[in-house]
Subunit: 245 residues, 2 copies
């Protein structure tokens, strides 16, 4: 049932087309009513099938949701990649800002998909985690920025690294390994904090936690300010486009 890839043969091709159509309808429903309101039967109706037929393509409602989660990760990843790719390679801060703004923009445009991946796990804790591939597309972008940062180690305005307890160094070991290169543990800690801060902010905004906290019509302004400070905390040099002084 985990037919994702090749599609050889006429039959297999038709099967994949059907799968795609179901997913398309499901995507639409998700965008309209959210994950909790996504009904396999309703999707089946809209696609013109009887509900039991859908089970030929997805093992369960949760399987359908998992496919949508993968979808969402890819959409976010693509959006972030595209935005970051538009920026001059040398402009590390600009690349970071592009990444951040793209993430928020995508989340605002498709809040239900965002909730699907960064909200509370809907089914019951089981789902994702074999979705590692697409899940890391966005994080990869940040990792590459950090790689470029350490390569051209202009320690200009970089905050001085803190002394780290060895347990903390071990704690962030997966990150340092993932980023590659020889990124110092202190930067890895900063990176994780920036990442959680970024998505924490977006989540707060989307999930209504910023009510009576940040004026609603100025959320974008505040976000930009926050992103700028996060860039500072990473030690990203001032943007090359408009370097002051």
């Amino acid at each position: 049932m985990d037919d994702t890839r090749p599609a050889r043969g006429l039959r297999a091709l038709a099967r994949q087309r059907m799968r795609e159509e179901i997913l398309a309808i499901a995507r639409r429903h998700l965008g309209e009513q959210g994950a909790s309101g996504l009904s396999l039967r309703a999707v089946a109706r809209d696609v013109g099938m009887v509900s039991s037929a859908v089970y030929r393509y997805f093992d369960s409602r949760d399987a359908l949701l998992t496919a949508l989660i993968l979808d969402a990760y890819n959409a976010l990843g693509a959006s972030v990649e595209a935005a970051e790719a538009e920026v001059d390679r040398g402009d590390l801060r600009g690349r970071f800002e592009g990444l951040a703004r793209a993430a928020r923009g995508w989340a605002l445009a498709d809040p239900h998909s965002y909730a699907l991946v960064y909200g509370s796990p809907v089914p019951g804790y089981v789902a994702p985690h074999d979705t590692v591939g697409p899940a890391t597309r966005a994080t990869r972008v940040l990792a590459d920025i950090l790689l470029d940062l350490t390569a051209t180690h202009r320690a200009s305005g970089a905050p001085r690294p803190r002394r780290l307890r060895p347990e903390v160094v071990r704690a962030v070991a997966p990150v340092t390994e993932y980023i590659g290169g020889r990124v110092p543990p202190d930067l890895a800690v900063r990176a994780v904090m920036v990442w959680t801060s970024l998505f924490g902010l977006v989540s707060f905004e989307l999930f209504g936690q910023l009510h009576n906290v940040i004026a609603e019509d100025l959320r974008g302004e505040f976000f930009d300010e926050a992103v700028s400070r996060l860039a500072d905390s990473l030690g990203l040099p001032p943007s090359t486009r408009d370097r002051r002084r």
Copy 2:
């Protein structure tokens, strides 16, 4: 149906007892299967009623959930308040650390309740926001710490304030007003970022987003490190208990 407070008369008292009993069972179910699996019928069965009788006490399943959300806010608030109250008033950093650790501790102990309030809104975006009272108990604690900070303005190790665009100042106006006193906008911005960072981190940990990022057995260590850095970013002076040098 919004019978929360007084309870005068025998009947009204019995009513509130029943309400409490239903809530208690619901709370148990929530802790076991999570919000999406909370069934009004199942709760009714466990409490020894027929399902329709529950509707005498709660307008709908969502109303029950809303009551549980209120519950959760209060539990988190109480936990945070208690932890922070144990710390010497002058030890601003210690108070902040106590608050942060209590929040994470409560979340880990009752993840479903945490997801209820800080995860994606389950019903369909409608619920809370009249629950402002209990919702702010935890934030009030931070606000008071910041008030004490600005009162005893020892600008010792405090990061130098940034120049703020006027839109940003307006954006955080609700925060500055909520905190009270005359807290500078720059500190308000920092406070919001610290808050989102804190809960972003907890959310990431609880929702599985830290998989392959922070070693699972060292999450606590990493959290402490992060909290320490967040305290720095607020300009909280080193703890009075173990001041170095």
